[in-house]
Subunit: 491 residues, 2 copies
Amino acid sequence: MGKKLTKRSEDYSKWYNELVVKADLAENSGVRGCMVIKPYGYAIWEKMQAALDKKFKETGHENAYFPLLIPKSYLSKEASHVEGFAKECAVVTHYRLKNAEDGSGIIVDEDAKLEEELIIRPTSETIIWDTYRKWIQSYRDLPLLINQWANVVRWEMRTRLFLRTAEFLWQEGHTAHATEKEAIEEAEQMMDVYADFAENHMAVPVIKGVKTESERFAGAVETYCIEALMQDGKALQAGTSHFLGQNFAKAFDVKFASKEGKQEYVWATSWGVSTRLMGALVMTHSDDNGLVLPPKLAPIQVVIVPIYKGLDQLDAISKKVDPLVKELRAKGISVKYDDRDTYKPGFKFNEYELKGVPVRLAIGQRDMENGTYEVARRDTLEKETVPMDEVIAKIEFLMEDMQKNIFNKALDYRKEHITEVDSYGEFKKVLEEKGGFISAHWDGTVATEDRIKEETKATIRCIPIEGDTTPGHCMVTGDPSARRVLFAKAY
Amino acid sequence: MGKKLTKRSEDYSKWYNELVVKADLAENSGVRGCMVIKPYGYAIWEKMQAALDKKFKETGHENAYFPLLIPKSYLSKEASHVEGFAKECAVVTHYRLKNAEDGSGIIVDEDAKLEEELIIRPTSETIIWDTYRKWIQSYRDLPLLINQWANVVRWEMRTRLFLRTAEFLWQEGHTAHATEKEAIEEAEQMMDVYADFAENHMAVPVIKGVKTESERFAGAVETYCIEALMQDGKALQAGTSHFLGQNFAKAFDVKFASKEGKQEYVWATSWGVSTRLMGALVMTHSDDNGLVLPPKLAPIQVVIVPIYKGLDQLDAISKKVDPLVKELRAKGISVKYDDRDTYKPGFKFNEYELKGVPVRLAIGQRDMENGTYEVARRDTLEKETVPMDEVIAKIEFLMEDMQKNIFNKALDYRKEHITEVDSYGEFKKVLEEKGGFISAHWDGTVATEDRIKEETKATIRCIPIEGDTTPGHCMVTGDPSARRVLFAKAY
């Protein structure tokens, strides 16, 4: 387990980096910017995937799989798309290695140069719309509602586990529609699906909004997003959904025959969330003792630790515990009974606290005599003694209560960290001293947005869907502002 | 739907290629050798994944994720491994594109050359064992039982949908053990898991065996395999499990402290199955009308087609059908009620036959009057009229019966196509006229194996685990043979 975790108040960034590694979520690999997702971290990601996949299927989407490699020429078909991604593309130029003739090792075989270089997908709009041209002829082929679970590569210069990695895992939805209205509704629906998932599974409160022009996805007409707030007062974009207009349909010549027999370009959306969500999960709930996981996403929901001297005592405890384990599993609760003889109870307590297991049961000799368990909840670290015949009900209560409690705690934090300001001086002061979201008037120009970013590092996280829509005057220029927008420093 | 499928007897290979595309399983993409797996094909793959993943977890394995990109130098650490894979590696040499100065388009930015070139994983032993060095210190860290679901790239020159593609999806298990015995047991266990999956989910009978030295995985001490037989008499390797000895532990310096405190090299296995199984599934069961799918892997198990004139009749039918759909779904049977008004029943019948939906229910006016459904099973194409109150029991029966029936049909075919021969002349004759597996004596030398391959294109598929172990004399050289082995032409 090594030494203690750095405290959040000491160095939030260091706390995060240490926690991700110590809690066995992920670690850096020998490949620049690429991480290894360890089994415990991957088990959380699998739970996220399962919940999201169910929601996608319930909203009519099907999964498919498109190639990892994209011909360079595809990328350049949509002008703003190539501009957004060309600078961070991993490029495959050759397809064979050989032994160096001077015996220095394995080198690229220069004779095996690809005719057209390929890029590793940074996102799949181009290869997918090249395919959709073959799949869409008539209005009867629409809507086409497809999702893909995949890995993508974006050659980032500064990386951090989960938050920004050269390769990451994600899902990307790509849909095609007959009308603009339907495509916009789809993009909005998927933002809602993401918000629902973030709040009800991850217990992470999010603000729904649209991005300003300069923060939009490369090739989108409108980008919808959900924005979360981390415990250090910085925002994190947790998911985006894009209305792509007819940009990709025109770039890849995807037309359909309407009911009236006219040839029209198809309307598109795309939407995605990634392993970045793992970072948001960690940074929203966890504390100085380690991870705090929402019960719905915890790979182990309940751990039972026996406290004993000698194998006779352990046997007696195991006889009590075994039926409980079975009963909990039958109720769909994942339980681990940790009867390893190679580690002491105190070590195990620390380990499960660090790994954020929601409920810990301990049982020793006094509990055996009294017919009780010691039940500890990870979120508040409270412990209580519970009669054996009430322990299942207690666990079921805790599964729901902890899910709610950590959500409410995060929501309270966010409420305290949305500040309304009316002057640029106040803006800078709040940003410096308190952080969080700042609700302020902005004149709607890229110039002002850029100036604020340059001077303060804060960006417009979104124009919220809900909330105050009263017009006012830009805090920087004094020019008219249609409504307040949300600023923050962000991950 | 286009024109009729080519018959198997006319051109088996063409039949396969057409069927995969027409049944909406997969198609070629604009990227050389890379396929698009379409939603219907992907839904079958998802069912395969779910069943396999459950089996892996039941045998104690956890999932994790390792980088897509591998430094070139890792590959060369295990000598026979690099020899096996270097010639088909996609190599990433640059990480940025830019606009060509002459305006000719997007080109590789030569200034953004990687310091060390990376290869796209053709398999992950090297990156994983580089990671295991950090994870394994003591016998308490063993066994390490990890699986990864991932995409891999092998630059094949001649590709075919599912059977051989430049990029494919697979799972790769990588385990580490304290003893040789335990690692061998693991490799054998995973061969058994694959065989169980092939026979009980895919309904594909397989022969378990070990590979000869020249057919072994690059870097393995022993390769276990399951071999299936296709309807054209060619074999298909459906899964492999490798005992890797200490080769990778030595190449990546992975040692552990034993209970006795000695530093020892770790013992390893790896094992994998891929989207190639989709090809095996199609080629084992399907017929001249289209796919035949085992009920356990069919995305749609039952389709219901209404036969009506006018919307009043359709409404009346729907009122009958809706509760049935609900009841079947409650039983975990996937049902589609196809009430599309845009296509005629005959068209729908053909479509679901082509797509291999196991059971088709039709209901028209006479059925409404008589209280019956017409029930058609896809495997035998038999139809019968079933009273409405017996239809659920009938469907449940068919789900089991069809699963068994197509397995037995494939097993009968295989039994008829294992021929024992004692002379090379007979061998060539059987191979030419009948195909299938040929059980023959072989002197155990690579030279004879190579000669047979060169002269007949047949390879030794495996030395079967079960079956005749009587010694004899090689059919080619007359030298002593320890036992009969299985030859075949193979995919």
